[in-house]
């Protein structure tokens, strides 16, 4: 993993790299078994007691369930000082957790994207803040 010491997520509690691997921060309901992302956005099964929701980290790897290529720059409040457009957006499936999560794809060879390919969670550098930290979002890259 690249040096993550000087990086900060633009919005907290979504992506974690404290374990040495970049992983998404989810929550699991012990009663109905549903995983949530973001973890505050509950999606309980009707009738669930809603007891025992625990924060969990998703596995670092999943597979690409769908993708698109965005051809014009995303308007504000999205912010980046890098030239990323056109960029891929993936929907990555975490099979055991039965959840699919969206994210920007860091791969630049957009023609190589294929549904079913293995993807790894990573971060994308967006801009440098006033504290000289690299502000990042979560992202996905193809496992080669």
């Amino acid at each position: 993993m690249e040096n993550m010491a000087n990086k900060v997520a633009r919005i907290p509690n979504l992506v974690d790299w404290s374990t040495g691997e970049v992983r998404l921060m989810s929550a699991k309901c012990a009663s109905c078994g549903t995983y949530f992302f973001p973890r505050e956005h509950y999606q309980h099964r009707p009738g669930c007691s809603r007891e025992g929701v625990e924060n969990v980290l998703l596995p670092g790897k999943g597979k690409l369930a769908s993708y698109t290529v965005q051809y014009y720059p995303c308007p504000a409040p999205f912010r980046t000082d890098k030239k990323i457009t056109p960029y891929g957006i993936g929907l990555v499936e975490f099979e055991a957790e039965k959840i699919q999560i969206t994210g920007i794809i860091t791969e630049t060879d957009l023609k190589s994207l294929k549904v079913g390919m293995e993807m790894e969670t990573t971060v994308l550098d967006l801009y440098v803040n006033e504290e000289k930290q690299e502000v990042v979002t979560w992202a996905f890259k193809a496992v080669l």
Partner: protein, 393 residues
């Protein structure tokens, strides 16, 4: 419950950004509806108003603003927001008030002025409003969501880029014949397939923009008003649906969705349409005219399936075989659809109902469906919002 009829409708034609205020557009639509119904403003006993979310205090109290233009009469005024299905909520409330006997005659209206530039997050609280996350971290404008679902569809069924373009060609043919549509150019397959990708596989001409527009509907159970109306149209059902747990569709503003389907796709529209079929005592096979929400070409295809007009993955064939044409088995979007209008949030569901009513009243000129008896307007809104209205003559 009493029988309820639509006796008057009015539209302010759809257009792009305007400096004019939303209440002026609303007044044009309401004036049109009053004239069409041939009644005085004082006959309106309840006002069910769609909220215009970009209009600040005025937009959130759009019913009061409208009432003051026409003259305050002390009647109940309720303002409602259900995203793109706001108009469905307003007509449902008007219908329920009249059907239950609370009032005899009620007005439902909505008006929206397209914001300059892009739609974006309305708050800055990422914990409370995940919409902030999708913009700041996700980099995902609305069409991304449709493109992700469209790609899934293309992997699963034989939907091609030509099918997506074919939808636009057909919608633009009808839009060119609709004086109230914003886009009136008829496109060829070649022109659509040569338009740039916005988010692959969806092209510029295959997604709809935001628009300005207003629509108003007057409903009544008053026998005298029904008798003097020009071709009144009966409301057989007007329902709203919300999403069902386990719906695999990635909803706009969400960052995740279930990987294993336990409910139908676009379950909010599945819910709304099934409620309407049950209440109206009709099925998809009885519908002659359908207005569906073609926010993108993908929506046109999937909505035929969600609402039960064909099986999953079969909509492309219906389209290719001409079954969805004005002269086909089921006339789909004779108005030209969202593709020819664009979205005017609080007004669009009412405009869809009005097109259905106008078709049943035989008022549609060059785009008129031959002698229809039953019509259905189907909406779709952000975050699991939907409404269905079934009308008949």
């Amino acid at each position: 419950m009493r029988d309820v009829y639509i006796i008057g409708t009015g539209i302010h034609p759809w257009m792009g950004f305007s400096e004019q205020v939303f209440a002026d557009f609303a007044a044009v639509a309401v004036d049109g509806a009053l004239k069409d119904a041939n009644i005085e403003w004082q006959k309106i006993q309840a006002i069910m108003a769609g909220i215009f979310i970009y209009g600040g205090n005025a937009g959130h109290l759009s019913g009061q603003y409208l009432e003051s233009i026409f003259g305050e009469t002390g009647v109940p005024v309720v303002n409602v927001y259900n995203a793109c299905a706001t108009g469905s909520a307003s007509i449902r409330m008007a219908y329920n008030s009249v059907a239950a006997g609370e009032t005899d005659t009620a007005l439902a209206f909505g008006a929206d002025v397209s914001p300059k530039g892009f739609l974006t997050a309305k708050s800055d609280n990422a914990v409370q409003d995940r919409d902030v996350i999708r913009w700041k971290m996700g980099g995902m404008p609305n069409p991304i969501y449709w493109a992700l679902e469209c790609r899934k569809r293309m992997e699963k069924y034989d939907t091609t880029e030509e099918d997506l373009a074919r939808v636009k060609v057909l919608m633009s043919e009808y839009g060119s014949k609709n004086p109230d549509a914003r886009f009136k150019k008829a496109y060829t397959m070649e022109e659509v397939l040569n338009s740039v990708y916005v988010c692959d596989p969806l092209r510029l001409y295959e997604i709809c923009p935001v628009s300005t527009g207003a629509a108003a509907v007057i409903v009544t159970a008053d026998k005298e008003l029904i008798a003097k109306a020009d071709n009144p149209v009966k409301i057989n059902a007007t329902t709203m649906g919300s999403a069902i747990y386990g719906d695999p569709t990635i909803r706009i503003s969400a960052l995740s969705c279930p990987a294993v389907a336990e409910a139908p796709m676009l379950s909010e529209s599945y819910s709304a349409s099934r409620q309407a079929y049950e209440k109206a005592g009709v099925g998809p096979e009885d519908i002659d005219v359908l207005e569906l929400p073609d926010n993108s070409s993908w929506h046109y295809l999937v909505y035929l399936e969600t609402c039960g007009f064909c099986g999953e993955g079969e909509a492309d064939k219906m389209l290719r075989d001409g079954e969805t044409r004005i002269d086909g088995k089921l006339a789909v979007n004779p108005s030209g659809g969202f593709s020819s209008h664009g979205e005017a949030l609080s007004a669009q569901a009412l405009w869809q109902v009005i097109e259905c009513a106008s078709q049943l009243r035989g008022r549609c000129g060059e785009r008129q469906v031959e002698n229809p008896k039953v019509a259905m307007a189907q909406t779709y809104g952000l975050m699991g919002n939907s409404g269905t209205t079934i009308l008949s003559v």
